[in-house]
């Protein structure tokens, strides 16, 4: 397929063309395509889902997809997994929970690997939302495994961010506050049939009275048992309640400012031969030079 053909077929929602385009996006060869697709975006609602490992995010995402499909919505799912810095492979075990949706032509699913501890949420994930949006998705679910910075970076991608918590999982509300608490527009209290759910809900709500978000939003708390499909519709209602305030779109401006900085940073570094850094690092380790001098020299080259 030529680029023009891919673009036209993507805009019609053709699964095969979308898969081809997604591969281009993941390999960072899609700038021209994305530029042409961008004018066709802006319709999809991007829902970010994060939370600690084992909280049931994938099960929840799969159930949410089911509810949206019952409404005949077109759904994109982007599952972002951390890559092992040693093995190089992504941890895709959880993806099995999305299996029921793979044969549905109204659902696009893409698993992406982040670069482990050397990178954050792949910049490619942001571009993937552009692709799925242009392809006609009404809702795009971006799910991260919640290891490392991905957990909070999701707020840079999503119109609305859901944080999935479970009772008695070491989710100390006070301790989580700084990172996770502040990105959550909606808390999904999953496995809420377990002991400790009432306590966690109480602590969460108490924390809202202690610190206020400058946008005036008080996060909603929804209780679910994702494994049994309970509370999913209520979670979707909470998402829509937040969406209706227009706060998500306002946040969009701030988020794009951050994303543009990251995109530019990535491109500026591409101007340097990657081996430069390994050579310079050896010189620094051997104390033949110092890092501050190295940086001045590299800056002088551009």
């Amino acid at each position: 397929m030529l680029l023009d053909e891919i673009r036209e077929r993507v805009l019609k929602g053709d699964q095969r063309a979308i898969a081809r385009a997604a591969t281009l996006v993941e390999n960072r060869h899609a700038t021209q395509l994305l530029r042409e697709l961008f004018p066709h975006t802006g319709k999809a609602l991007v829902i970010g889902i994060t939370g600690a490992p084992g909280a049931g995010k994938s099960t929840f995402a799969s159930q949410l997809t089911r509810v949206l499909r019952a409404e005949s919505k077109r759904v994109g799912v982007i599952a972002v997994d951390p890559t092992s810095p040693y093995s190089g492979g992504a941890i895709l075990g959880d993806r099995i929970r999305m299996l029921e949706h793979y044969s549905d032509s109204g659902v696009f699913i893409r698993s992406m690997a982040t670069r482990g501890w050397l990178g954050g949420l792949a910049p490619a994930a942001a571009d993937m939302t552009v692709l799925f949006d242009a392809a006609g998705c009404d809702v795009i679910i971006v799910e991260t495994v919640g290891v490392g910075q991905d957990e909070v970076e999701i707020a840079k991608l999503a119109d609305v961010t859901l944080v999935v918590l479970t009772p008695n999982a070491g989710d100390d509300v006070q301790a989580l506050k700084a990172g996770i608490m502040e990105i959550a527009d909606v808390f999904v209290l999953n496995k809420s049939d377990l002991d400790g759910a009432d306590k966690l809900e109480r602590e969460l709500k108490a924390s809202f009275t202690l610190s206020h978000r400058p946008d005036g939003w008080t996060p909603l708390v929804v209780r679910t048992v994702a494994g049994e499909g309970k509370g999913i519709a209520e979670a979707l209602n909470a998402v829509r309640e937040y969406e209706a305030t227009g706060l998500g779109k306002r946040k969009g401006g701030e988020v794009w400012a951050v994303r543009l900085r990251e995109m530019l940073r990535e491109r500026l570094l591409e101007r340097y031969d990657p081996t430069v850094f390994e050579r310079a690092a050896r010189a620094v380790v051997n104390h033949e030079t110092d890092p501050y001098t190295v940086i001045e020299e590299l800056l002088g080259q551009q």
Copy 2:
């Protein structure tokens, strides 16, 4: 104090000069000073400590400092805390546990704030280790609260990385594997008098047999009860066992390559007027342009 005086006094380990220099480092005004200090570095052992909130990292760090002081080692402690993106303040509650060391002239302590979900571990933290190293620290402990990417980024700063785990705290070994498991040179199994400690230790050790690190190192597991000072000397022995292999220093080269890239990225972006990104973001949100065209234009300016 003039810069020359600060430098000379820092090299003599003068607490007041170090505090002044640390402020310069934190405000990113210390490039010249750091360049002059760098040749005097390379003697300190940098120990990174991370783990989930509530695992007892601060108590462990304080106890470790006590053991090192009993050996007359000079100790630097850098506590990295996430900043709230909303309040702008750092979460410094845990620092209270270091109080006993504040009056000790052989201990330098600095709390630093990261920039919340918009930044990772402050690049300033790396420069702070340079400062403390030049000031004559034998050991520098860098502790992060373990929210977001800081948790794994610590491996970029430290010669040896300790991950503090506790039984029954939702620390599912399989789930943690991708991010945390692979940066741990030593696991500190804290609160090991609690139920579940044996099980956690067993699971940890089983996981080592499933995946091997390319450097051939099998992480050590040390059981501690930091609150009672138990197991601290054993943890320090484990650190030294790892150090003796020379693997930490080899890792140093890779780590510097990553850090140089980050330093360069930061400096390259400084060439742009920061308001550019806000203006461009508004244009993108309003679909007056697309992000890919914006980036090409910005690249063309340099």
